[in-house]
């Protein structure tokens, strides 16, 4: 009888591991989706430029066109993964791509990073103290928003973009939004 209890230990261990993994899957799906609302207007903002750039980024820049807003930072490892894709996107399409350089420790870090890796953005605003990020409900970098002609956030993605998402979701949506008045 004791042997059977002994033999049940692996089964219990398996249950524990299964529980942890299930939690992992659930967490990986629900991360931050609670805090972010789409279909709300972009808040009013006017961010200063990052060092080495003349202009910053304001809400007025987004109006009248369908644009992408990408939140990044030189400290963000995943942004490094995403960066080549943004460069490719900027080279291959003419969708305006705006950057929000978020939470830099030193203001020049972001510019240095872009100088090294190339700049895909049409305009960049600095948000070192998360003023805009908190209003938006940003939980981490990178995040990307699609903003329509009226300045309303229509789509939102957490984490790095890849071509799968771009081709399946983002690019078709941008095409559709361009048709809108």
């Amino acid at each position: 009888m004791n042997k059977k209890i002994f033999l049940a230990i692996p089964l219990m261990g398996l249950l524990a591991v299964g529980g942890i993994l299930t939690k992992g899957i659930i967490d990986s799906q629900s991360q931050g989706t609670l805090s972010f609302e789409t279909n709300k207007p972009m808040p009013e903002f006017d961010l200063p430029p990052i060092p080495g750039f003349e202009t910053g980024l304001a809400k007025a820049d987004l109006l009248g066109q369908v644009s992408l807003v990408n939140i990044w930072g030189s400290w963000c490892v995943t942004c490094e993964y995403e960066h080549p894709i943004l460069l490719e996107l900027a080279a291959k399409t003419n969708i305006p791509l705006y950057g929000i350089d978020w939470r830099e420790a030193k203001p020049e870090d972001g510019s240095r990073w872009l100088k090294r890796k190339g700049n895909p953005y049409d305009k960049i605003g600095a948000d070192p103290r998360s003023v805009l990020a908190i209003q938006l409900g940003i939980t981490g970098a990178p995040e990307t928003l699609v903003v329509d002609k009226k300045g309303i956030i229509r789509w939102h993605h957490e984490g790095a973009l890849d071509w799968d998402i771009l081709n399946k979701e983002l690019l078709p949506l941008v095409e559709k939004l361009k048709e809108e008045e």
């Binding site: 942890i20 899957i25 460069l87 890849d162 799968d164």
Partner: protein, 638 residues
């Protein structure tokens, strides 16, 4: 061309065939019929695989898998290896290896167990192919015309230039073969449990499958870490990354299984335990696939997150493992008793070879648990991640007794020790002398250095003085020397890990042309630095001269590449490859004033790790071949 569709179809046929195998197993079909279905599944899935390889080689961009992972500018070898650079391709490769290994098991297993084995293997392959075909199909097409119409140039997404390295390209197939060969011990265990001990314990096939799996796992992990060392640019061999850990866990379990089988084969002990390990090792290999492919743990290796895929593999993992453990609970005792009636010796002396083997198993499985816990911990508490310090610190406590056991166990005899063999005194004496020598030579008297030297050399010396058997012919001789070689290699690895870890010197410096910096005993001089424009990348190439106390040793080139298609930077580091010392030079940023940031590292004894690993593999090969040769002494089989 409908070749791709044919490949897709033939994989679907294999799925049907696997179901047929399950029915054949239940309905008591003839062994020849089962063999034929296994052969057909092998041929059809191989055809499928060949079709994919052809698509990769021809860069057929209408295939999504090619478009996502390859690029027209890639050389042929990397075009093909791009197949397993992405999710779909790797799973396809894994499934194909699984089918091959399952077929091998099917051919080799005892007639009495064949039906049960086929049921288990068939179900498993059915489930895996269901996943490949419905959730992760490598056969998806993309609409090239519509992409082109949108002004997107279709030449492939290129994939990751870090993946353009021969060691990286071959390590996944090796690792997958390691994972999938574990289906043989797993399937045979399930089969013998299903038969409730009515058939003999399939020791030979479990043993052979385990050793081959171990060989491939070791090679896969070894090549993977060699790639990390050469290419990733952080000058390390092991980062305790979740994906690395997920290959290490099955390796530890397989190592434990290999050792417990020695005892099971000798005296029939540890049978339940061996069966438990066979199930666990395979389960851990699927857990590895799950961790890598579900993307639930952040890692350099993981790909896009996809809940459906994660859930499917999780269910597969839980189902396989739970049914294995459940069978073990319900039928395990029956198998054990049946087998025990033919054997007498059941209790083990603590100080004996079997006693040490048992302790070794407990320690190993605890190590696997620690790695498992550390790997899964971030899922419980996302703010905490178990990093290298956690693993290094805790596991080092287990490494010391494990190494002492590895040194002592082969020198002990089976059963009660009649008298203490004088040979047992030799390794500790020599190891102590070596440790004192290290104390004198090295200035840094770190305790870990000394313990590492002592235990490592203990293993090495005891492997060297191990006497061959007096009986048993060439087979037993090979087996014995295999153990000796494997332990010798293990000792080299242990010394290498401890020494390289404790004595690494790292410096981040700015080099101007013709400037010299010192690291450890070496002087490194930047002789030349230039920009090059190659077809697929732009390179900054620097030539360094390494001298030791003014005497020129070698000249090396270190490179930083910017890949044009992928817009990604990689580093080709310079490593002085010969001898026991490595100087590792990785280029960083260049500044406008002509300076270049360089990361210099001096790492001693790291080459011994690769050498030691290969010696271990060679030893395992000997252990595999040995018992296959004719034995003069009594056969251990029952």
């Amino acid at each position: 061309m409908y070749l791709n569709e044919l490949g897709h179809l033939s994989l679907a046929l294999v799925m049907g065939l696997s179901l047929l195998q399950v029915f054949a197993g239940f309905s008591g079909a003839s062994s020849a019929f089962i063999n034929r279905t296994a052969l057909a599944a092998t041929l059809l899935s191989t055809f499928s695989m060949v079709v994919l390889v052809i698509a990769m080689a021809n860069v057929d961009l209408s295939m999504k898998i090619v478009h996502d992972t390859s690029h027209i500018s890639k050389p042929l070898f990397y075009r093909i290896s791009s197949l397993w650079a992405g999710h779909e391709g790797s799973l396809m490769l894994w499934a194909w290896c699984l089918i091959l290994c399952n077929a091998i098991g099917c051919f080799k297993i005892n007639e009495e167990l064949k039906a049960s084995y086929t049921i288990a293997g068939g179900l498993l392959i059915f489930a895996v192919l269901g996943f490949v075909i419905f959730f992760s199909s490598p056969w998806l097409r993309i609409d090239v015309a519509s992409l082109a119409a949108r002004g997107i140039i279709v030449e492939g997404q290129g994939g990751n230039p870090l993946l353009q390295d021969p060691y990286l390209a071959i390590h996944p197939p090796l690792l997958y073969l390691g994972y999938t060969f574990l289906i043989i011990p797993f399937g045979a265990t399930i089969a013998v449990l299903m038969n409730k001990g009515r058939s003999p314990f399939p020791l030979t096939i479990i043993r052979n499958g385990t050793i081959i799996a171990w060989i491939f796992l070791t090679l896969g992990i070894g090549f993977g870490s060699y790639w990390a060392w050469r290419e990733l640019g952080w000058g390390g061999v092991w980062a305790w990354d979740p994906v690395e850990n997920s290959s290490l866990m099955p390796w530890i379990a397989t190592t434990a299984l290999m050792h417990s089988l020695l005892l099971t084969g000798k005296s029939g002990q540890l049978k339940l335990w061996s069966m438990f390990l066979a199930i666990t090792a395979f389960a851990l290999s699927i857990l590895g696939m799950f961790l890598v492919r579900s993307g639930i743990i952040d890692s350099v290796h993981s790909f896009a997150q996809d809940a459906a895929r994660g859930v499917y593999i999780l269910i597969l993992l839980l189902f396989i493992t739970a049914s294995g453990y459940f069978l073990l609970i319900t039928h395990g005792e029956a198998v054990k008793t049946k087998y025990d009636s033919q054997k007498k010796n059941e209790t083990a002396e603590l100080v004996s070879r079997e006693g040490f083997l048992i302790i070794n198993n407990w320690l190993l499985i605890t190590c696997a648990l620690i790695v498992l816990l550390g790997t899964l911990y971030p899922l419980l508490n996302s703010r905490v991640s178990a990093g290298a310090p956690y693993f290094n610190f805790i596991l080092s406590f287990f490494m010391v007794p494990l190494l002492i056991l590895a040194a002592a166990a082969p020198l002990l005899s089976w059963g009660k020790q009649e008298k203490i063999d004088k040979k047992l005194y030799i390794p500790p004496i020599i190891a102590t002398l070596l440790t004192i020598l290290v104390l004198i030579i090295f200035e840094k008297h770190r305790i870990a250095n000394m313990i590492g030297t002592f235990t490592g050399s203990l293993v090495i010396v005891s492997a060297l003085i191990l006497k061959g058997p007096q009986y048993g012919g060439i087979g037993a001789m090979l087996h014995r020397n295999g153990i000796r070689l494997a332990h010798f290699g293990l000792g080299l690895c242990a010394v290498s890990i401890v020494f390289s870890g404790m004595n690494t010197v790292e410096k981040n410096l700015v080099f101007h042309p013709f400037q010299t910096h010192e690291i450890a005993d070496f002087e490194v001089k930047l002789k030349n630095i230039q920009q090059y424009d190659e077809p697929s990348y732009i390179a900054t190439r620097a030539v360094f001269e390494i001298t030791q106390k003014g005497k020129k040793i070698t000249q090396n080139t270190s490179e930083r590449r910017f890949y044009k298609v992928e817009k990604m930077e990689t580093r080709e580091v310079a490593i002085r490859p010969d001898g026991m010392h490595s100087v590792y030079i990785a280029l960083g940023q260049s500044f406008e004033n002509g300076g270049t940031q360089v990361s210099l590292k001096y790492i001693p004894f790291i080459n011994m790790l690769w050498g030691g690993s290969l010696i271990m593999v060679l030893g395992a090969c000997f252990c595999f071949i040995g018992p296959l040769l004719p034995q003069r002494e009594n056969k251990k089989e029952v």
